[in-house]
């Protein structure tokens, strides 16, 4: 299981990288390599070129801005989980990270790489969706912003052109009174999610004023549970309300594979969404 031959480039600046990929056909970007390298080793793909982003230090950062946190796409999962800024400001992301792979994979795996790879069972795209992240994608010519919700176009296919690089991800921060939870079902610790649910929920005066629920592992792309969100807003997060809201979530797409049938995924979604909502609501109540 050795990789096929390819041309290798390792630009040392973003500008160099952007120029480079604007000239190449069939280039795959190499971020953490924890998804791309297995695919190369198994020869599931044989790109003409590999452009290694690991020398572009300007893409590794975490910084606080007005009411948001901006993270460079090449920031490693390990550094994110250890970052005091992220731990304080984006606890949902940190909770999601506790389910992402293993110590060894988080050393090199990146936030941007996971978001661009869009494995349906990956945790970070789901957390980014629930947090309503905005992605900055750049080419040599321009930069554009995409909402995380608009980023997946198809199974493992992001809205990113061959000559573009995801450079940073912006997470808006919420006011006090926001609770969060990340629930996942996987067969073993660190495995990809069969179902994951990320919840970000705000309460005011005991009522839900804001709810974002993202689901991973269910369908071919991370999904927002919009019917569920609609059912929550304006309501008090009591057990019967949450039960009913989850029951109304009939808009989730489910797939089947060797790990689970559609029915089982649906069943798990109901179980996990319920748990996540309870936890997030409890936390929001204690925050406000």
């Amino acid at each position: 299981m050795k990789p096929p031959p390819f041309d290798y480039y390792d630009p040392s600046s973003l500008e160099e990288g952007l120029q480079l990929i604007s000239t190449l056909d069939e280039a795959k970007l190499l971020a953490g390599g924890q998804s791309l390298m297995p695919m190369l080793n198994m020869r599931y793909l044989a790109p003409q070129s590999i452009v290694d982003l690991n020398r572009i230090e300007e893409l590794r950062f975490c910084r606080s801005e007005d009411s948001s946190v901006v993270i460079g796409a090449m920031t490693t999962q390990r550094d994110l989980a250890a970052s005091p800024l992220i731990r304080e400001q984006l606890p949902l992301l940190v909770e999601a990270l506790s389910h992402v792979g293993h110590l060894q994979t988080r050393t090199r795996g990146t936030l941007g790489g996971s978001i661009c790879h869009l494995d349906p069972a990956a945790e970070l795209p789901v957390a980014a969706l629930a947090l309503e992240a905005t992605l900055q994608v750049r080419s040599a010519k321009e930069a554009r912003e995409i909402a995380m919700g608009d980023f997946p176009t198809f199974y493992m296919t992001p809205d990113i052109m061959p000559a573009e690089i995801l450079t940073e991800i912006t997470f808006p921060l919420h006011a006090a009174g926001t609770g969060y939870a990340f629930e996942e079902f996987a067969r073993r610790h660190g495995d990809f999610a069969i179902i994951s649910v990320a919840v970000s929920l705000s309460l005011e005066g005991g009522q839900v004023t804001y709810a974002r629920v993202a689901v991973g592992g269910a369908g071919s792309v991370p999904q927002r549970a919009r019917l569920l969100e609609d059912a929550l807003v304006g309501a008090r997060p009591e057990d019967s309300v949450l039960d009913e809201a989850v029951r109304l979530s009939t808009d989730i797409e489910y797939i089947a594979d060797v790990h689970a049938t559609e029915e089982y995924r649906r069943h798990l979604f109901f179980v996990l969404a319920r748990r996540a909502l309870t936890r997030a609501a409890r936390q929001a109540a204690s925050e406000s």
């Binding site: 299981m1 290798y8 390792d10 290694d52 110590l103 060894q104 994979t105």
Partner: protein, 174 residues
């Protein structure tokens, strides 16, 4: 002198491996695992799956545990690599190696190097882990022989020995 074409397929790299500086010309697609095993003949690190699940190939790159089957040798240019061969100091075994021997923490030994290097990283950053944290740290290393029980005892004991060593180093420094 390499042409541009060559530079896309072959590169000169300089890596510090177990404290020694090494210079080689390598194919860009050569993995770090194959580089250390077949170029440098450091065969203590093993390949179990080549798709990043079994952890047998775990080494330290700049003091952090990495799956060496998922990294290209050219990516290690300028980095410091540590493999299992760096643990013992001459005749003196590393505390983790002692612990593994005392607790029958290995049988065929094929997964062991990867587990030792994972623990070196993890315990350096988490010297007093909870049991669940220690298990989570080892969840990325597969073993088919031991059933993990003695690996866990060895890891706990190894953590304790490292703490003692750390304290006695402190004493010496004082």
């Amino acid at each position: 002198m390499s042409t541009d074409m060559d530079k896309r397929r072959r590169r000169q790299i300089q890596v510090t491996v177990n404290g020694q500086s090494v210079r080689r010309e390598v194919d860009v697609r050569l993995t770090v695992a194959d580089f250390i095993r077949h170029e440098l003949f450091l065969t203590g690190t093993h390949l179990g799956c080549e798709h990043g699940v079994c952890g047998a190939c775990t080494i330290l790159v700049d003091d952090r545990a990495v799956r060496s089957c998922l990294m290209l040798a050219v990516q290690a240019d300028g980095a410091e690599i540590r493999t299992v061969e760096s643990l013992a100091q001459g005749d003196t075994a590393h505390p983790l190696q002692e612990a593994f021997q005392d607790h029958h923490g290995l049988q065929c030994g094929y997964c062991t190097a990867g587990i030792l290097m994972t623990l070196v990283d993890f315990l350096a950053n988490n010297p007093t882990p909870e049991e669940s944290e220690l298990k989570n740290a080892l969840s990325g290393n597969l073993c088919r022989c031991t059933g993990y029980q003695n690996i866990f005892s060895a890891a706990k004991d190894g953590a304790e020995r490292l703490r003692i060593e750390e304290h006695s180093d402190d004493d010496i420094r004082r």
